[in-house]
């Protein structure tokens, strides 16, 4: 059983390394975009709120695989090409995940006690200052657990890139099939790989849950 892993170590290493890169790059980008969208959704400008709401409602009801297909097969047909399949995958994952992050951040903003932003307004802060200096820092503390859930989902969703020419962990089975290796053992090793990546995130989440439980 071990030989399946050791004989093809460089394939597993490369695959999981790409998975981690996909996860980190699109995770950071979706956090930024998602927070920005959440800001839109609570802003005093109705048009911005509409943009945020529309984006979230459309993306949340679209299969991620379709987003991938559109960016990988569709976009080049309108002369929009990203440098590599890796970046197409990053774009698809970011566009999709940021809708979910937006919702988590928004519900986090709603958990901050109204007195906080009232006090901030009373000392004359503008909307951006209220949100950026007072509300968001407190909101982020409360949303670490649900945010981690979204990031875990993102990590698992990176496997979809395998269907779109990115050589990440989800693409290992196809490569192993070509080498005539045992597929079931390959899949078991991939599962173990994902468990190793996910378990620290789950512990981070539990830890944050306990901390915020005390703070509340």
């Amino acid at each position: 059983m071990l030989s399946v892993l050791t004989d093809n170590w460089e394939l597993f290493r490369e695959g999981f390394w790409t998975t981690i890169r996909l996860f980190v790059v699109s995770g950071v980008l979706s956090l930024v975009l998602g927070t920005l969208l959440a800001g839109f959704r609570v802003s005093p400008v109705p048009a911005l709120r509409a943009v945020g709401t529309g984006y979230v409602n459309i993306l949340r009801n679209t299969p991620l695989t379709l987003v991938f297909a559109f960016l990988v097969f569709g976009a080049p047909k309108m002369n929009l090409t990203l440098p590599t399949f890796f970046w197409s995958a990053v774009a698809a994952l970011t566009v999709y995940t940021s809708a979910f992050i937006c919702e988590v951040v928004r519900s986090g903003i709603n958990t901050v006690a109204p007195g906080q932003s009232e006090a901030a307004r009373a000392v004359g802060m503008t909307f951006i200052q209220v949100l950026g200096i007072v509300v968001l820092p407190q909101a982020f503390r409360a949303i670490v657990p649900p945010l981690t859930s979204v990031l875990i989902a993102l990590l698992k969703n990176t496997t979809i890139a395998a269907g779109f020419s990115v050589l990440e962990a989800g693409a290992i089975p196809a490569a192993m099939a070509e080498r005539g290796e045992n597929q079931m053992l390959t899949l078991v090793w991939i599962t173990i790989g994902f468990l190793i990546l996910i378990i620290p995130l789950v512990f981070l989440q539990r830890w944050a849950e306990r901390r915020t439980a005390v703070a509340a």
């Binding site: 959704r41 609570v42 005093p44 400008v45 048009a47 911005l48 459309i58 949340r60 009801n61 679209t62 299969p63 695989t65 379709l66 297909a69 559109f70 097969f73 569709g74 047909k77 309108m78 002369n79 929009l80 979910f100 919702e103 988590v104 928004r106 519900s107 986090g108 709603n110 958990t111 109204p114 932003s117 009232e118 307004r121 909307f127 209220v130 949100l131 949303i143 657990p145 649900p146 981690t148 979204v150 989902a153 698992k156 969703n157 496997t159 979809i160 395998a162 269907g163 989800g170 089975p173 099939a177 045992n182 597929q183 079931m184 899949l187 991939i190 994902f194 468990l195 996910i198 944050a208």
Partner: protein, 290 residues
């Protein structure tokens, strides 16, 4: 709630907001125009790229794809509910020997990427010559993942019924089985419905993964249609059509979930405080909606 974040606009802020409003509207319109021009200049609106939608054989093909998507989603939804019910019951069992393995199974299937789960059935069927084919790989993969998430939703729903209900039921001499079945479940089910339906939206969306393991569902049909040379590789027109179908179906289900959520909040038959917001109250359940 979010109105707390800014003051009621005075005359200057009103003007500023109005200007920003116009700027944003113009920016959105500009972006849309840019996309349309881009589509036009690359010839995506040419009639030959849309011509194949006129053929009844191709309409039939698209319709069959949709039917296959719904078939897989429907069957998987039923199986996932059963799986979820069984494992939720096992997880609240008083017997360690039942509870611990059930917890392990639920946590494991939630941690494995759904595509890898499907691969297990897909390659497993090839390897052991079970002849399951991609359809059952999709259905079983969806069942195990969504069933595990549903088990968590059921469990959280039962746990969210206020303690007094359970205590009162035990005090009248009911057994655990009766307490869960007669007192907790009827109250929990109503509160859980929005979360359950949100999960069904996830399940429906995830049928599109069948595309990767060559299950003949809507997205797979779309890829075939988009790859036709004689219609100038009409990927964009086909994906537009398919996107409308997916977004329409999922939005309908999402609307139903939101409607039920609003209704259950007003419903007096649900013990006060029994709510499972799909996102915040239990961090882990946020995963359910992704």
């Amino acid at each position: 709630m979010s109105a707390v974040l800014y003051d009621v606009p005075g005359p200057r802020a009103k003007v500023r907001n109005r200007i920003l409003n116009v700027v944003v509207v113009l920016a959105v319109l500009g972006a849309i125009t840019w996309v349309i021009l881009r589509l036009d200049s690359s010839g995506q609106f040419q009639s030959r790229r849309w011509a194949q939608f006129q053929y009844s054989a191709i309409q039939q093909q698209l319709f069959d794809g949709l039917l296959n998507t719904l078939k897989a989603a429907g069957l998987a939804a039923v199986f996932a509910m059963l799986f979820g019910a069984v494992f939720a019951a096992a997880r609240i069992s008083d017997h360690r020997i039942v509870r611990v393995p059930a917890t392990f199974v639920v946590e494991l299937f939630r941690a494995i990427p759904l595509l890898i789960l499907m691969f297990f059935f897909y390659y497993g069927s090839l390897e052991f010559e079970l002849g399951l084919g991609p359809f059952w790989a999709v259905v079983f993969g969806l069942t195990l993942y969504n069933g595990s998430v549903l088990a968590e939703i059921f469990r959280a729903g039962i746990a969210a019924v206020p303690k007094g209900q359970r205590e009162a039921a035990y005090a009248t001499g009911l057994r655990k089985n009766q307490v869960v079945r007669l007192i907790l479940l009827p109250q929990a089910i109503r509160a859980m419905l929005p979360a359950i339906i949100s999960q069904l939206v996830v399940l429906l969306k995830d049928t599109a993964l069948g595309f990767i393991i060559t299950y003949n569902e809507l997205l797979y049909v779309a890829k075939q249609m988009g790859g036709r040379l004689e219609f100038g590789f009409p990927y964009i027109p086909v994906y537009m059509v398919v996107a409308v179908v997916y977004i329409g179906l999922c939005s309908l289900l999402s609307l139903l979930a939101r409607y039920l959520e609003g209704r259950s909040r007003r419903n007096r038959k649900i013990a006060k405080g029994t709510t499972i917001p799909p996102l915040l109250d239990d961090g882990r359940s946020a995963e359910a909606t992704v």
